[in-house]
Symmetry: C2
Subunit: 323 residues, 2 copies
């Protein structure tokens, strides 16, 4: 179920895009078409394509161009999932075994590279150097974020600044690009493209913050992976930073637990409980909501079309989602 | 020691390129500049940049353009090394620990992705859509080659055709692109660019064939990795295919050994001995030399400049190299 199909404005286009994505990845290539389609069918909310299409709807909606850029961004996103699961050594994603778990690290590495190369083909075919250049720069920054996450895992001394450095690169930049690129290929002005980039950036930050909250607050069924997987993997998120810096002995115990590698399942559960009992989750949610508000702040300066209201809806959905 | 520095024609430019590559990868990025420079300093013969520069010397030598494309291709090559070592689970490359062995799979994955993204930045900056498009297509095919290698590992039933399918993608395409792209950005005609592509393709095939021979015929000191690492990893190369299909009981025993996963070191050594005693190595070397000859066949149709003679020298070097 794609929550964005509720957005009537683009629901038919998103369906069409889904078919095109499948056809694009189905092109016969032993193993790679299988793993590509597996990743695609593993779900995903197509958040990024939805943003690109909505941005396009604000201006001159050139379906061909928008589909190309939306597909390229979604395929890059899929590639990062394939590679992230190697980095994080994750067995499950959205309730299904990860590529790395099912086919091994080697196949997961090559599938990611293959998707990146296929995305490059799409990008080059667009003949839009501006989008291509932003995409390359974004990819470089995404890698910097990922390496920072590796470097700072289990590091309980990290600051809120470190957290935002990471989630900006891990999530916000690509969502930001989805919005901006949709605007650029649709004839938006520089200022309009900038407003959409800013919208995507704030929304992307909020999106990851909510993700990090749900990892601690959700249930295994809704998440499609065990609760507290960040705790298990040593990824220090905002609710943890807040909880560790809170008053009382709980904070001290939490620091001890989060710094420990190879935690037992009991210790993971204890850490999750300690965070839940702190004000880490509620303060994080408040912060996420501030980002949502900031995202929408400048929307009134964009053309007054139905897509503008839909962008606000998207923001609300992200703030309130439970999985 | 770079054997190509013997080529006076480009030795100074190759040195300059080496400095530029180092500056390019040194750009401050925690861990990533360290791993990037580590990969760079691990050696490598800069075969691909040498081809690009030589191709340029045949026509209008635009240093800036040629350096950009040569660096992009070498950085992509380095990215594939970082990722291949994860796929092959290799501990050593050129006598030094691999990235994956020293920093772990996660860092090796991200370093490869980072290098790919940095290469994309270079490619986009060139404003040459033709080169960009060939590069994307080449990257897609390289992944197909890699996945084929994973799929057919330990598969003793594979044919000479399978072997050539793999080495074309694994090695020949990128060398071919090095030559062709050097020609394209230097104002060569379509036909001249085609001849250089063909040259690079045949040479690339020969290069990999010689590599595969040396893996069985060399010494650990010269290779910088244990002898027979292909045997150990289940990569079936041409000398093995020839030896397995030879007469006598040795061939049968070899089939048994090559199909076996988790071979002991004694079994690896026995397999290497069986191949050495067959005519697999000599016939493979003959075949490689035929590719070298084919590579040089059409060179007389290119402009009669010193670089043309140097291309022949490169071919001879590849045919005769011992490491």
């Amino acid at each position: 179920m794609n929550p964005f199909s509720l957005l009537q404005l683009i629901s038919r286009d998103l369906e069409k895009l889904e078919t095109e994505l499948k056809n694009f990845l189905r092109v016969p290539a032993p193993v790679l078409s299988e793993t590509g389609v597996y990743l695609l069918e593993a779900g995903g909310k197509r958040v990024r394509p939805a943003f690109t299409l909505l941005a396009g709807k604000l201006f001159r909606y050139d379906e061909k161009m928008l589909f190309t850029v939306a597909m390229a961004i979604e395929v890059i996103h899929m590639a990062t999932l394939a590679h992230d699961d190697i980095v994080d050594d994750s067995a499950l994603r959205r309730g299904k075994p990860t590529l790395a778990a099912r086919w091994g690290n080697g196949v997961a590495v090559v599938t990611g590279d293959y998707l990146l190369a296929k995305a490059m083909e799409l990008v080059y075919s667009m003949k839009n150097r501006e989008v291509a250049a932003i995409l390359a720069r974004t990819s470089v920054e995404m890698c910097r974020g990922e390496i920072c996450q590796i470097r700072t895992s289990y590091d309980i001394g990290q600051s809120v600044y470190d957290y935002f450095y990471k989630i900006r690169r891990k999530t916000a930049l690509l969502i930001s690009l989805s919005c901006e690129a949709g605007a650029i290929v649709s004839g938006a002005s520089r200022e309009e493209a900038r407003i959409l980039r800013q919208y995507g950036h704030c929304l992307g930050i909020a999106f990851q913050m909510v993700d990090d909250i749900l990892d601690l607050d959700g249930t295994k069924e809704k998440l499609g992976k065990p609760v507290g997987s960040d705790v298990r993997q040593g990824i220090i998120t905002l609710p943890m930073i807040i909880a560790m810096n809170g008053p009382g002995s709980g904070a001290l115990r939490l620091r001890e637990l989060l710094a420990r590698k190879d935690k037992s399942e009991e210790e993971v559960a204890e850490a999750v409980q300690l965070i839940r009992r702190s004000d880490g989750l509620s303060l994080s949610l408040e912060a996420a909501r501030r980002y949502i508000a900031r995202a929408c702040q400048k929307l009134p300066e964009l053309p007054d079309r139905p897509a503008r209201a839909a962008l606000t809806k998207m923001a609300e959905f992200i703030a309130n989602r439970r999985h």
